[in-house]
């Protein structure tokens, strides 16, 4: 390989990694936090079967899961200003990623809540606990353990998904690669390089995920 390409890739590396650490990762973390809050709230509303709110939650999940993420990004960033709702690119990306992944994660969390046997809830009532105490001591800890691997996967897929923010002008890691490529025309080298950085991030996260799973244990049961 020629030395020009190596020089370009070597110079690009700290820039790309820098955007990865200062934009891609914060974008992922904030969006994921938002998604988690939405997911837990939406799942609890359905688990507790709160009448009207439940319908609203089902509608939200139906709409989000039935439309492409890219279309959602475009709609909010390019379309909503027509309605007088004008947001910067970065907050738009956070909101869209958060609400999008939130819908998927809500189903994960709901499934995990429902996987805690009804009998344990009844036993909780029978020893005199109230609904909140049962949720806090029995249902939520078990549901969290069950949901953990799937939530970890959501986080990992979100890291990669943030590259779509490039399409609405957010200057994150992938868009930075595009910008550099616009000057030097080295698509193969640069996009391979940025792919490897995503791979690095995701690999670290899956290590953390496995470590977390071990840390959480299985309450003496078989390995999940």
């Amino acid at each position: 390989m020629d030395t020009r390409l190596w020089k370009i890739l070597l110079e690009a590396f700290p820039r790309l990694l820098g955007y990865g650490i200062t934009v891609t990762i914060p974008l992922t973390i904030i969006s994921f936090a938002l998604a988690l809050v939405i997911a837990v709230a939406v799942a609890l509303v359905q688990y507790a079967d709160i009448k009207v709110l439940r319908q609203i939650c089902r509608f939200y999940i139906w709409v989000i899961r039935g439309t492409p993420l890219l279309v959602q990004l475009y709609l909010v960033f390019y379309g909503f200003p027509k309605l007088g709702i004008k947001l910067e690119a970065f907050p738009t990306a956070i909101l869209v990623f958060g609400f999008n992944e939130g819908a998927y994660m809500a189903e994960t969390v709901r499934g995990s809540l429902e996987s805690v046997s009804r009998g344990q809830v009844e036993a909780g009532y029978c020893v005199g606990m109230n609904y909140m105490q049962i949720m806090w001591h029995i249902v939520l800890p078990q549901a969290f353990r069950t949901a953990f691997p799937a939530l970890g996967n959501s986080l990992i897929s979100m890291v990669k998904g943030t590259s779509l923010a490039a399409t609405i002008t957010v200057m994150e890691m992938f868009r930075q690669a595009q910008v550099i490529n616009g000057r030097v025309y080295e698509s193969l080298g640069l996009y391979t390089e940025v792919a490897l950085i995503y791979l690095l991030f995701c690999t670290v996260l899956s290590w953390l995920q496995r470590w977390g799973e071990k840390k959480l244990g299985t309450y003496g049961g078989k390995k999940a």
Binding site: V116, S117, G119, Q120, E122, A123, G124, Y125, C126, V127, G128, M129, N130, Q133, H137, I138, P141, Q142, R145, T218, Y219, G220, G221, K222
Partner: protein, 249 residues
């Protein structure tokens, strides 16, 4: 009289499952409820502890009257704190150790201090022979051990009565004995118990009173000895013969 039920009715999906149950339990009684599958035994127990809401019925518990259909949250909580329930499939809290399973009803539900709750829990677990498994999780125990922990969990809250719903039905035959012997011990100590069971030996020799249910109604009830030796109703005779025949086969 610790417990009296009058006119308990319950329907599921338009089908009447309990057709006016009347029963009473004295302090220190061990009452066995017998009856074929689907006769409404489980539903009766569940209504007593408001795990199901009855359509109609009056409950007199420790002198206080409750409308079984309309009882509010507060009344239900009040009754549940004086009773305990042992389920067919144990229903231990899977994320808690044996000790925590027994303590939770004391600390979380009754606000008892940790140290004191621990003492009570260890005592209850000792009573059922599970004191050597304090830090095990339910998934690490045999069915018989889990059910004994569930009985300790019930005992720890010092209930006025313990409801048992077929406590040995989910167990392998060789594990039934250890649970029955704990229950026999409790009976001897004067614990008031209402036990749905298919264990004829237990009904005959341990319980003081037997109730025979069929198709949502009580067919016959009376002292255990009389019930087995001199049943009044034809249906009761048939049932006893059927069960005893099964046991010998």
């Amino acid at each position: 009289m610790i417990l009296e039920v009058k006119g308990l009715r319950k329907s599921f999906e338009g089908k009447e499952i309990l057709k006016g149950i009347e029963l009473s339990v004295e302090k220190g009684d061990v009452v066995a409820i017998l009856g074929p599958s689907g006769s409404g035994k489980t539903t009766t127990l569940r209504c007593l502890n408001f795990l199901e809401t009855a359509d109609e019925g009056e409950l007199v518990f420790d002198g206080a009257h409750y409308d079984m259909h309309r009882a509010g949250k507060k009344e239900i909580a009040e009754i549940r704190k004086k009773t305990a329930f042992v389920f067919q499939n144990y229903n231990l809290f899977q994320n808690k150790t044996v000790l925590q399973n027994v303590m939770l009803g004391l600390t979380a539900a009754r606000g008892i201090r940790k140290a004191e709750a621990r003492e009570i829990a260890v005592k209850a677990l000792t009573h059922v022979g599970m004191a050597d498994k304090l830090s095990s999780y339910p998934a690490q125990l045999s069915g018989g051990q889990q059910q004994r922990v569930a009985i300790a969990r019930a005992l720890a809250t010092s209930p006025d009565i313990i409801y048992f719903d077929e406590p040995t039905s989910a167990l392998d035959p060789e594990l039934i004995g250890e649970v029955l012997s704990v229950m026999r011990q409790l009976a001897k100590e004067g614990m008031t118990m209402l036990v749905v069971t298919h264990e004829m030996e237990f009904a005959r020799n341990v319980s003081s009173k037997v109730i025979f249910m069929e198709d949502g109604s009580i067919v016959e009830q009376g002292p255990a000895k009389e019930f087995f030796e001199n049943p009044k109703e034809e249906r009761t005779r048939e049932f006893i013969n059927f069960i005893l025949g099964q046991g010998e086969a």
